[in-house]
């Protein structure tokens, strides 16, 4: 047996460049964080697996950092953006959704739950309510939110 990746239908809720334009009054140049072994160990603790890239771009200005992360819900990666300020999530946004179901996670009522959340050990300080039929996508968003907070600490 071999691994087969099937094509997915991408739903773009917010283009990554628009996410940056909405976050910063003037989009800064990207910075790069290399995900070495020590960082991957910390990411594994919050994601449950290493991040599948060797480096991540992020954007820093006006006292906040913006991160765009990919995480698989069930089959396909969900791309989400997080803005972190003072070690708290200031904004969470689903950018591109590729799964066949569970896209309710893009709704503001769900995403608002992340605002103000910080890391409490390896958990989010805010309780995030699940969505029936979107459990795997909800879990993926929580993992990415935790990873964004960890990465923000590491990029200080």
């Amino acid at each position: 047996m071999t691994v087969l990746r099937c094509a997915s239908a991408d739903t773009v809720y917010l283009a990554p460049d628009d996410f940056l334009h909405q976050t910063f009054s003037e989009t800064p140049q990207p910075s790069v964080l290399w995900l070495d072994q020590a960082i991957q160990t910390k990411l594994t603790a919050v994601l449950g697996h290493p991040y599948p890239q060797a480096r991540l771009r992020y954007w820093r200005a006006q006292g906040k950092t913006a991160w765009m992360l990919d995480e698989i819900g069930k089959e396909y990666p969900i791309t989400a953006g997080f803005v972190v300020s003072d070690n708290h999530i200031e904004r969470a946004q689903v950018l591109i959704y590729r799964e066949s179901r569970g896209d309710e996670i893009h709704l503001p009522a769900f995403l608002r739950q992340f605002i103000g959340s910080s890391l409490d050990g390896e958990r989010l300080s805010n309780k995030i309510d699940g969505i029936t039929g979107a459990t795997l996508s909800v879990n993926a968003m929580q993992r990415m939110a935790r990873a964004a907070l960890v990465l923000n600490q590491l990029a200080q």
Partner: protein, 253 residues
Amino acid sequence: MNPHTRSRARRISLLLHRWHRRIGVMISVFIIWMAVSGWLLNHTAFLDLAHRSVTTHLIALRYGLNEALPTQAFNADKHWLTFTDESAWLDGKLLSTPLPQPLGLIADAKTIYIANASTLLLLNDNGALIDSESTNLLPIPVITRIGFGCNGIVIADRQKQFASSDGVNWEMCEGDVQWSNAQPLTEYQLAIIKPLVQPGVSLERLIQDLHSGRFFGAWGPFVVDAIGLAFVLLALSGLWMFSHQRKQRAHRH
């Protein structure tokens, strides 16, 4: 209950017993299969069934899949990239990050760059992902070409070309560029790639089709419907026999 009614009830009970047993034996294999396949489908994510492909000649025939071999490759330094509509292989290994319809391949001492119209992948020498950049965050909306020039990697659309030494910061490039172009696959490359190109379907799809009967063609779902009806008959006959026996016992006492 008069003797005539009692005898009739006994006859019905005997008939039901006989057919209950027969139906039970006939569909026992199906019951086990439906239960096992149902369990598997309930845990597709955990078992990663969507990403496991079954690639046999029989499956290819059943699903009408074509075994289209790649004909072209992009070559850069010691690396080569070949592709079909479904997949791409770097140096004879399935690309770890799916990238449909690649446009070119560039490689320097440390990094391999592969682009399609919407994404630029940066891989290390072993093919592991360094970074994946969508055109949303690149200086051009659609990549049409990738090449070497202006002291770095160059991406271009129909009007402009931009160069970068790290894939992060890009500057307009107006110098000469050596573009990556596809070339016919060599005999060596073809020999490596041929055994790898086997069309298949995901294990999840195969189990779903077997579970629903669709695998067996247009009549398959009706056969599964008939088996479902047999389940209902089993349940009803079982209930009838259970209640009849209780009544008989109560009558004896």
